[in-house]
Amino acid sequence: MTYLKPLPDTSELNRPFWEGLRQHEFRVPRCADCGDWNWIPYPACRSCQSEHQVWTAVSGNAVVWSWSVVHRGPGAFNDEVPYTVVLAKLAEEPRSLIVTGNLVGIDPAEVTMGMPLTVVYEEVPEEDITLYRFAPVR
């Protein structure tokens, strides 16, 4: 079945991120000078403006920082309501790593604040891309 939900228009600059998803790694630019993580990826570190950032795989461990159960979705997403969009706070600190994602593998009514999550990977059929989703830790 053709995937009809929106897909990212990926850039050469961020190729290591999308390549990472294919290898089931969630990579975040980490500053080689001050050690801070920068999400979403920017061309230089937001803490010290160093351009020396290294794509570094994170653990994928996260917690629910906020969530919304969507009852009216845009475009092809409307075929899947109700579904859950989550703001997941990744375990790696000190910089807050709050990532927007789609939460799968759980009844929307069972989501709670602070619930442990992990990054999971979804291969998109007929497209050369892997997406990240979040799922509860079972």
């Binding site: 009809l4 999400w39 979403i40 919304s68 969507v70 009852h71 845009p74 475009g75 927007t100």
Partner: protein
């Protein structure tokens, strides 16, 4: 260096019909609004020499908006172009007018035929649409979802309930009922129970927690003191204004999301009020961006009208309602008056009408000082404030 108080004034305002306008184009609404506001001022198009478009989008592919409009409005050079959000554009225009860069500038917007909500996103038949690399749309989120995520986190941190949010929809609808031009006024008053029993769009936001999604246009004319004194209406003076930008743009956020010191709206408000030489207690009437019920509550806190976490109490105590300490969004706001694409100038127009004493059943008695807040691109990622006063 002080802000040039009372050296520029808002002299003309105009709103087209708001609602479903299938026979109109965005351009046509913009042109009607520009002509209407200039006429309201008692001026002519030939007097306009500054332009405050709400975006650089043009009507002639490959041509910047300012050049398109310079030609369309009579093939005359225009002296000033300011971008940003409506309140901030007007503040910058006031400073530019005082400095002699322009004498009469017009801010305008109009949109028809393109819905901004999920109804405006058509599902493709054969191939996945592409969106920007970090767009929340790939996760099934859209504007309402993002504000819902924000509302959920806020409610969690401060013990605020859905019924608290609903109070915003209730008072704003009450104002719309008193505004014969509002889109939702004819539907009558609503109760907290009505809001809570309306269907969920994105939990915890119900249908009636969301602004409406309609067509419409508007324009505002700002002019030098010399011009203003000879206009049709009494001048509504600019006392001060400011804008600020922060990180939130639907892609990146930090914990805490609600810092004690505030974000862009706080910074813009502090600066604007400081330049205008007013305190929070001086404000007789306010217009503030209210795309969702949660937005009004957060704006009251960010603007410093109450403390962090106390926005819902401020609303429940009736301060925003007509008859209260600081009637807010007296036209019915984006929730119940009109939300057309980028409606951020609508709040300024209503405040101007209040200061003119032209609001009929919804008039705030003896309103002398008013404030408009534009806020957008994200939850407090961008904010601007304009402080206005009558003589």
């Amino acid at each position: 260096m002080a802000f040039p108080q009372r050296q520029a004034a808002i002299v003309g305002v105009y709103t087209t019909k708001q609602g479903k306008l299938p026979d109109r184009s965005s351009f046509s609404l913009q042109l009607e609004a520009i002509k209407g506001a200039v006429d309201d001022a008692g001026l002519t198009l030939a007097d306009v020499d500054g332009l405050l478009p709400m975006s650089l989008t043009d009507h002639l592919a490959g041509t910047p908006a300012h050049q398109f409009w310079a030609e369309q409005l009579g093939e005359r050079p225009l002296s000033l172009v300011e971008l940003g959000g409506a309140s901030g554009q007007l503040a910058k225009a006031a400073a530019a007018i005082a400095a002699g860069l322009t004498e009469v500038a017009v801010l305008f917007y109009g949109k028809a035929g393109q819905l901004v909500g999920p109804r405006g996103t058509v599902a493709p038949k054969d191939k996945a649409p592409r969106v920007p690399e970090w767009s929340f749309m790939q996760h099934g989120a859209y504007m309402t979802t993002w504000y819902a995520l924000w509302a959920r986190r806020y409610m969690h941190e401060f013990g605020v309930t859905s019924a608290d949010l609903a109070e915003v929809a209730v008072f704003t609808r009450h104002h719309a009922v008193l505004n014969p031009d509002s889109v939702m006024g004819r539907k009558g008053e609503i109760t907290v129970e009505d809001v809570l029993s309306s269907r969920y769009i994105c939990e915890p936001l119900h249908l009636l927690d969301c602004s409406i999604d309609n067509d419409g246009g508007y324009a505002i004319v700002i002019a030098s003191a010399e011009v203003a004194r000879n206009c049709r209406h009494e001048p509504i003076w600019v006392l001060g204004g400011a804008e600020a930008y922060y990180t939130d743009f639907y892609g990146t956020i930090n914990d805490p999301w609600f810092p004690e010191g505030g974000k862009s709206v706080r910074k813009a408000t502090d600066r604007a009020f400081g330049l205008a030489g007013i305190t929070r207690d001086d404000v007789d009437v306010a217009g503030m961006y209210d795309c969702f019920t949660i937005t009004t509550i957060r704006n009251l806190e960010e603007m410093g009208f109450c403390k962090l976490g106390e926005g819902a109490d401020f609303v429940r105590e009736g301060h925003c309602r007509l008859g209260g300490r600081m009637p807010t969004n007296t036209d019915g706001g984006l929730l119940s008056n009109s939300h057309s694409g980028d409606p951020s100038g609508m709040h300024t127009i209503e405040v101007v009408r209040q200061l003119r004493g032209a609001c009929g059943d919804r008039q705030v008695p003896d309103a002398r000082i008013g404030v408009s807040l534009q806020q957008g691109w994200a939850v407090h990622g961008m904010g601007s404030v304009l402080v206005m006063a009558r003589d």
